[in-house]
């Protein structure tokens, strides 16, 4: 079942001589349960594509459909709520809330949604991430790999339709990187989680079901 459809997506920054075409008429679809890696060199438009799919950056032209609904026809609030409920985002630099501990960071989207906390689910996710001994720790008391795990947990907690991971291993050592990738694979296999992952590392990309190459804003 198609859960995501991107149609003729373009993003242009600046004007005249300073004009930069970050995305150039991109179209593709994602099936439920797919693990897609988008690979390309620096400045190829990977992050821009991810931000546009997540509703964080409005494209210059084109459409993005979640379950046949064009997200750019929604108002700002509806888009934010969609992100909260349907899209899990994992960043390269974790972007955890520094004043909340591991548990609180993982629960953040659920609490923003005013939903009742499923404590069993929380425990399962923490166990899945191997963070049982770090539940009450603040982000600055965790290693990079642990912080990224928390970010994954935050994304998984809401049962998202899709997880968008922007260079999730970019800031980690090889051991931590492997751990993270394994977690993502596990999430994909065990929870049938649809994942789109940005990376510049071909070895990591090969672990995905589908690899899409992007260069100068275009799919190759």
């Amino acid at each position: 079942m198609k859960i995501l459809k991107v149609e003729n997506l373009s993003k242009i920054y600046g004007k005249g001589d300073a004009k930069v075409i970050a995305l150039n008429d991109i179209s593709f679809e994602v099936e439920e349960g797919e693990f897609i890696a988008i690979i390309g060199p620096s400045g190829s438009g990977k992050s821009t594509l991810l931000h546009t799919i997540a509703g964080l950056e409005k494209p210059t032209s084109g459409k993005v459909y979640f379950y046949d609904k064009n997200i750019y026809e929604m108002n700002k609030k509806a888009l934010t709520i969609l992100r909260r409920q349907k899209i899990g985002i994992i960043y390269q630099f974790y972007n955890l809330i520094p004043t909340l501990n591991v548990e609180e960071n993982i629960l953040l989207p659920v609490e923003l949604d005013r939903k009742k906390v499923d404590k069993d689910k929380l425990e399962n996710i923490i166990k899945f991430l191997n963070l049982e001994n770090r539940k009450k720790h603040l982000p600055n008391e965790l290693s990079g790999g642990q912080q990224q795990k928390v970010a994954i947990g935050r994304a998984l907690m809401i049962d998202p339709t899709i997880i968008l991971a922007d260079e999730p291993t970019g800031n980690l050592d090889s051991k931590s990187s492997n751990e993270i990738i394994q977690l993502l694979q596990k999430a994909n296999k065990e929870y049938k989680q649809t994942i789109i992952m940005i990376t510049h590392n071909l070895e990591i990309a090969k672990l995905a079901d589908r690899i899409i190459h992007i260069e100068d804003g275009k799919f190759i």
């Binding site: 931000h51 934010t80 992100r83 909260r84 409920q85 985002i89 972007n95 004043t99 609490e111 923003l112």
Partner: protein, 770 residues
């Protein structure tokens, strides 16, 4: 606990220093506004209460009223209190608290207090109309409590005739200052509110900017704008409440201390200020500061909620490239150039510091100049060099000394006094061979006013010694003022030429001048004069521009004054009294025309230590003991003016100090935040080999540029204000020099510069340690 609340408290705890700075800023702003209201209302209420107790708490009196008229007005809704008096010597009783023996009959006196003194004229006119009084009836039986009303700001309130023609009485006031103080208070509160909003806006903005990334992350994981707004408003609300409470407590303490200091300056019963905590003004001040906090937090909160996710997460600063062409760049080191570029490309950030510096400097320059002018005016306006003068009759001549001695014994104040006598005369003048040429015409008869003053022995001896004259000499004080009116108006024309000779051998002749002779020729002119006595009055004359001690006011009198010793004065007076038609003449041709000069009489000049206490004492004596003494309190107004100036100085300097403290706290906050943001920049510079000294230099250069800019703006802003102050004060006094305290201002600016440098350097150290 909701997630927004949790995030709010966590944020406040995490960045405790920023929270403290912001709370202190709010506290100081609250302190400024609450103190202003508390002190202003305490002074106003205390002053009114003291004045009311001193001059009685009523506004209008109707004496000898009939019962019918009384019944017509007693229930008027604007009357808050009526006191009744059986007769002029009787006691006043509140209408609701009359003794059983009191009979409300025709002929009682009623003392009316209105519910709003500002509408005294309107209410009084209503009463006059109701009673249908004629002007004469109103004049004879009605009276306004002018002393009380003057103190309240209704200057020269009186009952006149309408258009000065018909018989209808009307209550009018010449000057109404009652609203001026209210307007001044509103303007001051408005200025402080604007200052508060600027400072708090900046404080909140710093906090928001520091958390931009966090808000962006929250947005990206699904926090709506409303939820982010909730977080920011909640934090501002909590800090605001704490700040207001601290500010309120500080205000009470400060108001108490300030009022105590004011009382020490004033040192009088009228100015006995006490702290009054009126709940409605406290609520008003809270409302003002809450509105200020809301306004100042609104834009930063909206900015937080609408932070671009991408820019926030990447922490991209929107620094727009701006080509910097500066002449100074060629002469500056690399640090200076970096500083200049940083300032130019990050204008918004540093604008607040510049604004704060401008506010501090402009306030100081304008306020200290105004105070300086007021202080000089307070001294200059006083045309007397004694504090008071008694006009004594023959009867009171015997006991005035006892009264003054009693004052010294009871008050502990020191007194110096000396008697003198004045004889006011008119004299004719022929200018041809006169040293003092006086040209004065009225109906073809040339004459002008002169006065002869008999000094006590001590004053005369000191005076004549100073002038190197001989005992017994007449001393002619020659006013060197010149006054020239238009000839078309048949007014007197006075011209006094400068005296250039002393010890001139004048002759003084007493002559009789007959005004009945009109239009006589020159020969017949002499027939007018009958010489009575010129033998005993042949004395030397001393011409001088110097006045004796205690007679400074003579300088402004438009008449020639002749000082003599008391023996000579008595001699002259005796001759006049013996023969009423006797006149004086000497060869400046002064001729006696008549003695209808109201300034004649016996006087006692008084110098004392505390004119306010002295005036209270004398008024008490005159009223209670019914003595026949008239007193002029020359320095009372001046003393009150000096007290007013000192009070004003204390209040204004307190305001300046508070503004400076707020400025310093805010500047520390801004500079700290700015240096935190630039930590990466400094790290990059360090990696390239910049030492701590280099980085300090950049920060110092930035401060120097901002300070120079702020100083120039302050001078430009202050100039029109100073001009207005000078023009305003010129209406009160004539000065031949500018009284701007340049030295004080220079020292202040230098101190401010040093403080700002210390803050900057200290902040650099602070960042390094982080």
């Amino acid at each position: 606990m909701k997630i927004e609340t949790k995030l709010t408290f966590n944020n406040m705890k995490k960045n405790i220093k920023r929270t403290i700075y912001t709370t202190i800023s709010i506290a100081l702003c609250a302190f400024l506004i609450i103190s202003t209201l508390l002190v202003a209302t305490s002074i106003s209420t205390s002053f009114k209460e003291n004045i009311a107790s001193k001059y009685n708490d009523y506004h209008f009196v109707i004496r000898n009223i009939d019962l019918d008229s009384f019944n017509k007005i007693k229930d008027k809704e604007y009357i808050s209190q009526i006191y009744l008096q059986e007769n002029d010597e009787g006691q006043l009783y509140e209408i609701d608290n009359l003794p059983d023996s009191f009979q409300i009959v025709d002929g009682i006196n009623i003392y009316i207090k209105y519910d709003n003194y500002r509408k005294t004229c309107a209410y009084t006119n209503n009463i006059l109309e109701t009673l249908n009084l004629t002007f004469i009836e109103a004049y004879e039986n009605c009276e306004l409590n002018t002393r009380l009303l003057n103190s309240y700001g209704l200057i020269d309130v009186s009952i006149n005739t309408k258009d000065f023609v018909d018989n209808v009485p009307i209550c009018q006031v010449r000057l109404n200052f009652t609203y001026i103080l209210d307007i001044m208070l509103i303007v001051i509160l408005l200025i402080f509110s604007i200052l508060s909003v600027i400072i708090l806006y900046n404080a909140f903005l710093i906090t928001i900017n520091e958390r931009k990334k966090e808000y962006a992350v929250l947005n990206s994981i699904g926090a709506t704008e409303g939820q982010i707004l909730k977080i920011t408003f909640l934090e501002n609300f909590i800090i605001g409440i704490i700040g207001i409470i601290i500010g309120f407590l500080m205000s009470i303490l400060d108001s108490f201390i300030l009022l105590k200091m004011l009382n020490n300056i004033a040192n009088s019963t009228i100015y006995n200020f006490k702290l009054i905590l009126d709940i409605k003004y406290i609520i008003l001040s809270f409302a003002i500061i809450i509105i200020n906090i809301y306004i100042s937090s609104l834009i930063p909160s909206v900015k937080a909620s609408s932070t671009s996710v991408i820019q926030g997460i990447k922490n991209n600063k929107q620094i727009k490239y701006k080509k910097i062409n500066s002449i100074f760049g060629k002469f500056l080191s690399i640090e200076g150039n970096l500083a200049l570029k940083n300032l130019k490309r990050n204008k918004n950030k540093y604008r607040i510091i510049t604004i704060l510096l401008v506010i501090c400097m402009t306030s100081y320059i304008t306020i200290t100049t105004y105070i300086n002018y007021e202080k000089v005016a307070a001294n200059l306006i006083n045309e007397y060099d004694v504090d008071a003068e008694l006009n004594i009759s023959e009867n009171s001549n015997k006991y005035y000394k006892t009264i003054l001695e009693n004052y010294v014994n009871t008050s502990g104040d020191k007194i110096e006094y000396f008697e003198y006598k004045v004889m006011g005369l008119y004299a004719l003048v022929e200018p041809e061979d006169a040293l003092i040429a006086v040209n004065c015409r009225y109906a073809d008869v040339m004459y002008f006013p002169i006065q002869i003053i008999g000094l006590d022995d001590k004053s005369y001896n000191n005076y004549i010694t100073d002038l190197n004259g001989n005992v017994g000499d007449y001393i002619i004080y020659n006013n060197v003022t010149e006054r020239d009116l238009k000839e078309e108006e048949q007014e007197f024309i006075y011209k006094y030429s400068t005296a250039f000779k002393t010890n001139y051998d004048f002759n003084l002749k007493i002559v009789y001048y007959n005004l009945a002779f009109n239009n006589v020729n020159e020969e017949e002119e002499f027939l007018r004069y009958e010489i009575i006595d010129d033998e005993n009055l042949k004395e030397n004359f001393v011409l001088t521009d110097i006045l004796p001690n205690g007679y400074k006011e003579i300088k402004n009198k438009e008449r020639i004054t002749i000082f003599t010793n008391m023996e000579t004065f008595n001699n002259i007076e005796e001759k006049i009294n013996a023969h009423p038609k006797r006149l004086y003449q000497h060869n400046i041709w002064m001729h006696y025309v008549n003695t209808s000069n109201s300034e004649s009489g016996n006087f006692v000049k008084i110098k004392c230590g505390n004119i306010i206490n002295f005036s209270d004492y004398m008024e008490n004596i005159i009223q209670k003991q019914n003595v026949n003494i008239f007193v002029d309190y020359y320095s009372l107004e001046n003393q009150e003016k000096i007290i007013y100036t000192n009070i004003l100085e204390l209040i204004l300097k307190t305001i300046i100090l508070t503004i400076i403290i707020i400025g310093i706290i805010s500047s520390i906050n801004i500079i700290n935040a700015s240096l935190c943001e630039r930590e990466e920049e400094f790290k990059a510079l360090s990696r390239l080999g910049a030492t701590k000294g280099n980085i300090n230099k950049i920060v110092i250069y930035e401060n120097i540029y901002m300070f120079i800019k702020a100083t120039i703006i302050s001078i430009i802003l202050s100039s029109p204000i100073l001009y207005m102050i000078i023009r305003f004060m010129e209406k009160t006094i004539i000065l031949y020099e500018i009284l701007i305290p340049f030295a004080n201002i220079g020292i202040f600016i230098l101190l401010l510069f040093i403080i700002s440098l210390v803050i900057a350097i200290y902040s650099t150290k602070f960042i390094k340690e982080e």
